[in-house]
């Protein structure tokens, strides 16, 4: 049965989409069938990491939520060549980058229940092992739904005072919704920080398992969302941390 991973952060700029894309590829390298669904409908972006841009006539998640498209017509296989040998697959459900479509979605809204149904319809159609839901930062109806239906919630934060406070809210919400599993991911950890102190502070603050502590990386900044770090820099500590997280999730959730 498919496992839903909601990748969430309370604040923007945590590297949530980057983590979603790289985690999806890492799971696919373990032979898993994975879909990434971009539910950050107001500011989509995860497609960029896969080098994918919806062309005219290609359906996006918006066309399913506000139109007649079937969800499987909004999914595109983006499996990198390096991953195919592992017999894993990655599909992407992008959100529209068209300004009018984004505005229409924000103006008119949609039945959030359709998002729930979409994830499971897609899972059955593509025989998925994992669906990664790349959420909008903060709390709204979509993020609450994604949290409530998740088998595991990955909460991404930077070691930043505002992030610490906001993350507490996200954890409180997840606990009220009885999410079965939560993992903290601390991203963009500067070299000057003592990682063990951060680990202890996060553990003490939230009493939630830490999935990964990922360093702030010049290499990733150089990549500038123009590729997937786990493929371009597989030996980098950031990539290794994501790969280890994928292994942990694969073992503990399946």
């Amino acid at each position: 049965m498919v496992k839903i991973l909601a990748v969430h952060s309370f604040r923007g700029g945590t590297g949530k989409s980057n983590l979603s894309a790289n985690l999806a590829v890492s799971l696919a390298r373990l032979g898993k069938r994975v879909a990434v669904v971009d539910t950050d409908l107001a500011s989509p972006g995860v497609h960029v990491l896969f080098g994918f841009a919806p062309q005219a006539g290609q359906s996006t998640l918006n066309d399913y939520l506000q139109g007649p498209s079937a969800i499987h017509d909004c999914a595109y296989e983006v499996t990198p060549a390096e991953v195919k040998a592992s017999h894993g697959n990655v599909w992407l459900v992008p959100a529209s980058m068209n300004g009018d479509r984004i505005a229409r979605l924000l103006r008119e809204g949609y039945q959030v229940e359709r998002l729930n149904d979409a994830l499971f319809e897609l899972s059955e159609k593509l025989r998925l092992d994992f669906v990664l839901v790349d959420t909008h930062p903060g709390i709204n109806e979509e993020t609450l739904l994604s949290t409530a239906i998740a088998d595991c919630l990955l909460v991404v934060m930077r070691p930043d005072s505002q992030d610490y406070l906001g993350t507490a809210v996200a954890i409180e919400v997840a606990e009220r919704l009885d999410v079965p599993s939560i993992r903290m991911v601390v991203n963009k950890l500067p070299d000057s920080f003592d990682s063990e102190q951060v680990r202890e502070k996060v553990a003490r603050s939230y009493e939630v398992p830490i999935g990964a502590l990922l360093p702030l990386s010049d290499d990733l900044l150089t990549l500038a969302s123009g590729g997937l770090a786990v493929l371009r820099f597989p030996d980098h500590p950031w990539s290794q941390g994501v790969s280890e997280l994928a292994g942990d999730l694969s073992r503990s959730l399946v």
């Binding site: 839903i4 039945q111 959030v112 229940e113 729930n116 499971f120 109806e141 609450l144 739904l145 409530a148 239906i149 919400v173 009220r176 919704l177 009885d178």
Partner: protein
């Protein structure tokens, strides 16, 4: 076990933010169980029985299910009960 206070329940369609605000915790648990692909009748009744008490009712499952169904928060779809978000 948590007691359900029907008078304290909001009226109208269920949203995720409403679900989040509901008390007691057992009610959120029941409605969360109806998300995803839904829940079968037997497991739902068992979950209600284990999670919620209804003052004045020794057998709370049936009246609680009726209340949630009347509000349109739980709907039967074939063999499954699904939480309906408005």
């Amino acid at each position: 076990m948590d007691s359900l206070d029907v008078q304290a329940l909001p009226v109208g369609p269920l949203s995720m933010s409403t679900l989040l605000s509901l008390e007691p915790a057992g009610l959120r648990l029941v409605l969360r169980a109806g998300l995803r692909q839904g829940i079968q009748d037997g497991p739902l009744r068992q979950l209600i029985g284990e999670s919620l008490a209804f003052p004045g009712h020794e057998e709370p499952t049936k009246p609680i299910l009726e209340i949630l169904e009347q509000r349109g928060w739980l709907v039967r779809q074939g063999e499954l009960w699904k939480t309906r978000l408005g």
